[in-house]
């Protein structure tokens, strides 16, 4: 029995406290032993809750009467609860030649068993259900094997509609071909989550009792707790001691799938185990807990399979139970009808991946996800998985070299994606690209899946970069291009070529069933190069959908540690600076604050801190501007709530493009924060439209220092 490191540290802390009290002549609080010492005589108490069961009680009494164990060493506790009148009558008329007690409790199997435990007079307890029976030597052989701090597992036979399975069931099979002492709790996990067929020291049960609030699954929660608290020795009984469990027609074993049993009760049991897992660092016990949580989740899944209409009702109950080990995957098992293809996806840190996760979060439907292993080019933040995980059935991470433009690497991704997925289960594919790999894979997947419905979303123009120059990279051979042209309507073939970035736009435009743009300017800008006919075709199947926002819950997941002075007016800017997105306007704001002598501070969060810092010093505004590195996503969401004003800046595109096709995706994160938003816009951009539509937004055109002064004054700092 190894004490875990955590507990050792706890005890050491306790010792320090006691020593201090002794040295200061203070009273020392009385200590409690973690192992209750109970002075009970050797023997076994059989606990039987009786609720209904009038059809079985006669057979039950017979089975106990036949026990070969000397009657001095056992007693039977009958706890009548709920509806028991009929069975009590039969019970009273029967001859009971063994030591027994009769107790009464309010309805509830946990409550009844607890009452039995508290009234037991022997050192070991075995549970029996009213509709089950025991083999003749059960108590004898069980008691012979019983030891302190040890749970003894006996054999379990299921009798289904009168037929004995001779132990050929999932629970009993765990015990076959195992050592007398199994190596790991996990090996006998199913046995360790049911009441029947085992002997437990009474001392354990006096310390850890059944949760009386649970309607069922109370045994799963109880044994998980006993294993966590006591780390007992588990022993498989080598002698014959059979517990007969009756199933099928006319028995009390339940089979019906209901919301209460399959969902609500299972969620409670999972909660109880999640709580245990939080403080447990023994690997073996953790494995057992995680495994049990997963098998509980499969009950929820079973309910959902038949009641998909309740999907959002169910996920709303569990989507905030964020934990690395919450068994969402089991809840969603085999439910997904949509395959999401996102070359970059959480846990990898990347804006386009996060937006895809937010889309899933917004739609509240079970999905499968394919993404690439981006380790070499992107950092990882496992907490990002909170966004989409509650809705993910299976997620396939493809191991290919990450690349934005290399055709070999992208082809490898596409090929592996094809091999990894079983396309028969889907109705739809949803791909989103900044990374061309997403649409290229989706196109092939759609074809392999017999022309599945395909929705393609663009986060940015792909062919033209921010300076309106065409990106180039050969992906298809001329032969392949010919083949693709043959598949497309004649008029559209002229746009096909070997260039990856062109085809990453044209293929979805021609073959997808729906095109999603994030704003109207983007649509116009991307379609400008096509003829009217083509443009109308794409427009007719396109949707404009701004980046989704997360609800408020996600703004409180993580606490930020930015030192904001609440007496000042704090302005925040999050983003990097490029040639097309300069820091000029941000620095103008700082300079204005300085000239107007306002009680305001500017906080810049950016990747390139040293460069921005030197710029700040050069401009002489280091008193006003603080420069920090990027925050983790949820820290960022949390801090947005604490700023008085958040800055959003358009990219500067007017030197290169007719219209500005970009809308900073941070806008969607800012909106829910409740803070003022100040947009530094370019004329005609989507950001400008948003500012004009919404009175809560402040706006100044890039380079307009007079307007900056006006806005700063309007804040009444």
């Amino acid at each position: 029995m190894s004490m875990s490191n955590l507990k050792i540290r706890e005890r050491l802390k306790q010792i320090k406290k006691i020593k201090n009290s002794i040295l200061n002549d203070q009273q020392v609080p009385e200590e409690q032993s973690p192992f209750p010492v109970v002075d009970l005589s050797h023997g076994v108490s059989v606990i039987i809750p009786v609720h209904r069961g009038e059809d079985f009680i006669k057979e039950l009494i017979e089975s106990i009467t036949k026990q070969s164990l000397d009657s001095r060493y056992f007693e039977v506790l009958f706890i009548f609860n709920g509806e028991y009148e009929a069975s009590e009558e039969i019970f009273n008329s029967l001859d009971k030649p063994f030591k027994h007690k009769v107790l009464y409790a309010k309805q509830g199997v946990g409550r009844a068993r607890n009452l039995g435990i508290n009234n037991a007079s022997f050192a070991y307890i075995t549970f029996l259900d009213v509709d089950d029976t025991l083999s003749v030597d059960y108590l004898k052989h069980a008691l012979e094997e019983a030891e302190p701090y040890t749970i003894v597992l006996n054999q379990l036979h299921e009798i289904v509609d009168g037929r004995d399975d001779h132990g050929n069931n999932v629970i009993n099979r765990e015990l076959k071909n195992k050592n007398q002492y199994p190596d790991q709790y996990f090996d006998v996990g199913k046995n360790l989550s049911l009441n029947g067929a085992k002997v437990v020291p009474t001392s354990f049960l006096l310390n850890t009792q059944f949760d009386e609030e649970l309607n069922n699954g109370e045994d799963v929660a109880l044994y998980a707790e006993i294993v966590t608290v006591f780390k007992p020795i588990v022993k498989i009984n080598q002698k014959e001691a059979i517990y007969y469990r009756y199933k099928g027609q006319g028995t009390l074993s339940r089979a019906k799938v209901t919301f209460q049993f399959n969902v609500l009760d299972r969620i409670h049991v999972i909660d109880a185990m999640q709580e245990l897992l939080r403080y447990e660092d023994d690997l073996d016990v953790r494995n057992l807990l995680i495994d049990r949580m997963r098998s509980q989740a499969l009950f929820i899944n079973k309910y959902l399979v038949n009641n998909m209409d309740d999907y959002s009702k169910v996920t709303d109950l569990i989507r905030y139970k964020q934990d690395e080990f919450y068994p969402y995957q089991q809840v969603n098992k085999e439910l997904s009808k949509t395959l999401y293809v996102s070359y970059c996806f959480p846990p990898f840190v990347d804006t386009s991946g996060v937006v895809m996760a937010k889309r899933i979060n917004e739609k509240k439907q079970p999905v499968d996800v394919i993404y690439n292993d981006m380790t070499s080019v992107r950092g990882m933040d496992p907490s990002l998985e909170f966004i989409a995980n509650p809705y993910i059935d299976s997620s396939h991470m493809i191991n290919s070299v990450s690349s934005f433009s290399n055709p070999q690497h992208i082809k490898a991704f596409v090929e592996k994606a094809l091999n990894r997925t079983d396309l028969n289960k889907y109705d739809e594919i949803y791909s989103r690209a900044l990374w061309p790999g997403s649409h290229m894979a989706a196109f092939d997947l759609r074809e392999a899946g017999n022309n599945l419905r395909w929705v393609a979303e663009f986060s940015d123009p792909i062919l033209q970069d921010i300076k309106n120059e065409e990106r180039k990279g050969t992906y298809f051979t001329l032969k392949e291009v010919k083949k693709l042209q043959a598949q497309a309507p004649e008029d559209y073939g002229k746009y096909f070529d070997t260039n990856l970035f062109n085809m990453c736009e044209v293929l979805p435009f021609v073959f997808a069933d729906e095109i999603v743009f994030t704003n109207l300017n983007q649509q116009q800008s991307m379609l400008a190069r096509f003829d009217d006919n083509f443009r109308e075709m794409v427009e007719s199947k396109s949707t404009i959908s701004i980046h989704p926002s997360l609800d408020e819950y996600y703004y409180n997941i993580e606490k930020h540690y930015v030192n904001l002075d609440q007496n000042e007016f704090n302005i925040g800017y999050f983003g990097n600076f490029y040639e097309t997105r300069s820091a000029n306007d941000i620095l103008s704001i700082a300079k204005q604050i300085q000239t107007l002598n306002l009680k305001a501070k500017l906080y810049i969060f950016t990747n390139n801190t040293s460069k921005v810092r030197s710029e700040v010093i050069k401009e002489g505004v280091s008193e006003i501007v603080n420069v920090y590195t990027y925050l983790k996503y949820f820290e960022f969401l949390n801090v947005t709530k604490d700023f008085d004003c958040l800055l959003l800046s358009d990219a500067n595109t007017k030197d290169y493009k007719k219209i500005n096709p970009y809308l900073p995706s941070k806008y969607s994160d800012y909106v829910t924060s409740g803070s003022r938003i100040w947009g530094l816009y370019e004329k005609g951009s989507v950001l400008q439209q948003l500012i004009e539509e919404d009175n809560l937004l402040f706006g100044s055109e890039l380079g307009d220092t007079e307007k900056i002064e006006e806005i700063l004054k309007s804040f009444n700092i």
């Binding site: 490191n5 050792i8 020593k19 002794i22």
Partner: protein, 69 residues
């Protein structure tokens, strides 16, 4: 049994707490070593798995056997 003074009782209690503290500290170190070894063991196991599934080595071993014959 002779009666112990308050001071003696105090010393007795402190002594036994010190002993427990020392034992627990040792246990803590052992626990740490165990987890280090466990991690190392897991790492080596992963390594083995990786090499077992590494086709050229398997093939190489077969070839070696074949040539040996």
């Amino acid at each position: 049994m002779e009666k112990l003074t308050y001071e003696e009782l105090k010393n007795l209690a402190l002594e036994s707490l010190n002993k427990e503290e020392r034992a627990l500290n040792e246990l803590k170190n052992i626990d740490r070593q165990i987890s280090v070894l466990k991690n190392e063991n897991d790492r080596l196991n992963r390594q083995i798995k990786k090499y077992q599934s590494f086709f050229p080595i398997k093939l190489g071993l077969k070839m070696k056997k074949f040539v040996g014959k």
